[in-house]
Amino acid sequence: MEGGKEKDAYTKACGIIEMDSSDLKKLGAWRNTNVRVTSKHGSVVVKAVEATQGPHPGLAYIPMGPWANSVTDPNTYSTGMPTFKGVPIEVEIAMNEKVLSSVELVQKKCRGEI
């Protein structure tokens, strides 16, 4: 993201979760609803969008960025590389919660506020 990471465009591009339309249906969520994504390693609010590069039911995708990194598996299994992909997650509707900007999100997490 060369346009500036403190900007809205970055949140729009990466503060999202791409979900299969069948999964959205199962969840009972409209497109562009805010959802809370939770894994064993953390939790974050992002906007659920319909996957354009699907179909891939059961598989969701958050682009690389602080939102994804709030839920990824930090375990490296002695390779130095955290396990960024293939992390089991749960998604629930969080209509009234806000998607934070990258800077807000990281600052708040670091201060232990969320």
Binding site: G3, G4, A51, N69, P74, S78, M81
Partner: protein
């Protein structure tokens, strides 16, 4: 009136396009337009111009806000931090020139630091695999002129390296492939129907994380040995068909990306991909290449390699170079709380590291050198803005195929803003004084 700077190198992705033309104002201060670049490349040039750019270092205050300080104060803080730290981490190095990397390594030797680059979260596992089994590779020029079988495995260049396909891998007419894409067959392996997959002759929509199985199955198939009915969600007929297609080519190439390096099998996936390449050379000519992301992450590996012998996570804390991925890698060090200061240049771990590691950085003395405001700059104790390499200062960079290319300066940096080489040189000098060494 404006003037045009030609043969400009794009300092964004590992494709390192070197055919850009940039129109600048007569006084050489502002960029008017950028030609030939893809959207992300052009954005990088235009972003350098933004009005709200930070032009002086900023120090974090106790309440979390930032206060402007001078470059002299920033140099002093950074040098003091290195002098006091017992085991500082110096991370990043992928969005800067080889010259700056080299000065950084001098500091690391003095301070007994660990130098790690972004490979640690992208192609570090590739580097481990290469040390395990070697790598038969080639240049992008050879691919353009010869390759007629192209595999994209776990990568999506349409979005991450937008001009890769038009300049090198699918569309260009080459010396031995003079019909361009009509001469080439493209196979894409990805769990998603990516925009790259939509252009492929064959798309294997593999089950997430089953790359190792499918690679092994292809090795079996090229030998015409029996396979189970499906592997990784792909019917065996399809796998045999792909194997025949690959064998019938004159020059094949596997490009691979994060989809293979970041899943659970990590370096073993790459081992297997390289072994498949080796096997393929029994039948035809085959090569393999990592789709390196940042424009000069390859250069960081090169400079570390020739100076210390290892491509990333080099630990100099004992006075000699050690390398042990899993121990001397950034995320492991941060997780275990083994470093006592963090210096970041040319990357954004605040956005790219798991949040648990980011928290650790925010609790330590920390310096972030970056032209942009980033999540990292906003949790570091000190943010030092610098000139954009490849836009406001030249420098050497390595393309993803290990070809060195000199990036050019297009416009002047804003008045008084240092380049990263200048800042590092001043820190290095001051650190030498503090530690009583030259």
């Amino acid at each position: 009136m404006t003037k045009t700077v030609t043969d400009v190198v794009c300092p964004f992705c590992g494709t390192l396009c070197d055919d850009l033309e940039v129109e600048v104002s007569d006084d050489g201060k502002t960029i008017v337009d950028v030609y030939n670049a893809c959207a992300i490349g052009a954005e990088k040039f235009m972003h350098a111009q933004s009005k709200d750019r930070v032009k002086r270092p900023r120090m974090q205050q106790p309440d979390g806000s930032y206060k402007e300080v001078t470059y002299d104060e920033a140099v002093e803080y950074t040098a003091q931090m290195f002098a006091k730290a017992r085991k500082p981490l110096m991370y990043g190095w992928s969005s800067t020139s080889c010259e700056a990397q080299s000065v950084g390594h001098e500091i690391a030797e003095k301070a007994g630091a660990i130098v790690d680059n972004t490979a640690t979260v992208c192609h570090g596992t590739t580097l481990i695999a290469v040390q395990d089994v070697g790598i038969p590779s080639c240049t992008l020029g050879e691919i353009k002129n010869r390759a007629d079988r192209i595999i994209f495995w776990g990568c999506n260049p349409t979005h991450a390296h937008p001009r890769h396909q038009s300049r090198y891998s699918i569309f260009p007419r080459g010396f031995f492939v003079n019909k361009g894409h009509k001469n080439r067959k493209v196979i894409v392996v990805d769990p998603r129907v990516t925009d790259t997959a939509k252009m492929a002759d064959i798309h294997f929509q593999i089950e997430q994380g089953r790359d190792y199985e499918l690679l092994s199955a292809l090795r079996v198939a090229v030998r015409n040995e029996p396979l189970p009915d499906t592997v990784a969600g792909i019917p065996k007929e399809k796998i045999y068909e792909a194997a025949e297609l690959l064998k019938s080519g004159r020059f094949g190439i596997i490009f691979f990306g994060m989809g293979v390096t970041q899943t659970l099998s990590k370096n073993h996936n790459i081992d297997e991909a390289i072994m498949l390449t080796k096997d393929m050379n029994e039948f035809t000519k085959f090569s393999i290449m990592a789709m390196r992301g940042h424009y000069n992450v390859t250069g960081s590996g090169q400079v570390l390699g020739w100076q210390f012998g290892y491509p990333y996570c080099v630990d100099l804390s004992r006075g000699f170079a050690r390398y042990n991925p899993g121990e001397t890698t950034s995320n492991d060090l941060l997780r275990r709380g083994e470093v006592d200061a963090v210096f970041v240049l040319g990357s954004d771990p605040g956005a790219h590291f798991p949040i648990s590691s980011v928290k650790k950085i925010s609790q330590l003395p920390s310096v972030c050198v970056d032209p942009h405001i980033t999540p990292t700059s906003e949790i570091s104790k000190l943010h030092v803005p610098v000139a954009f390499v490849g836009v406001e200062v030249g420098g050497n960079c390595y393309r993803m195929d290990n070809v060195p290319i000199d990036a050019r300066k297009v416009v002047d940096p804003p008045e008084g803003v240092l380049t990263d080489t200048e800042f590092l040189t001043r820190v290095n000098k001051r650190l030498g004084e503090l530690m009583g060494v030259a």
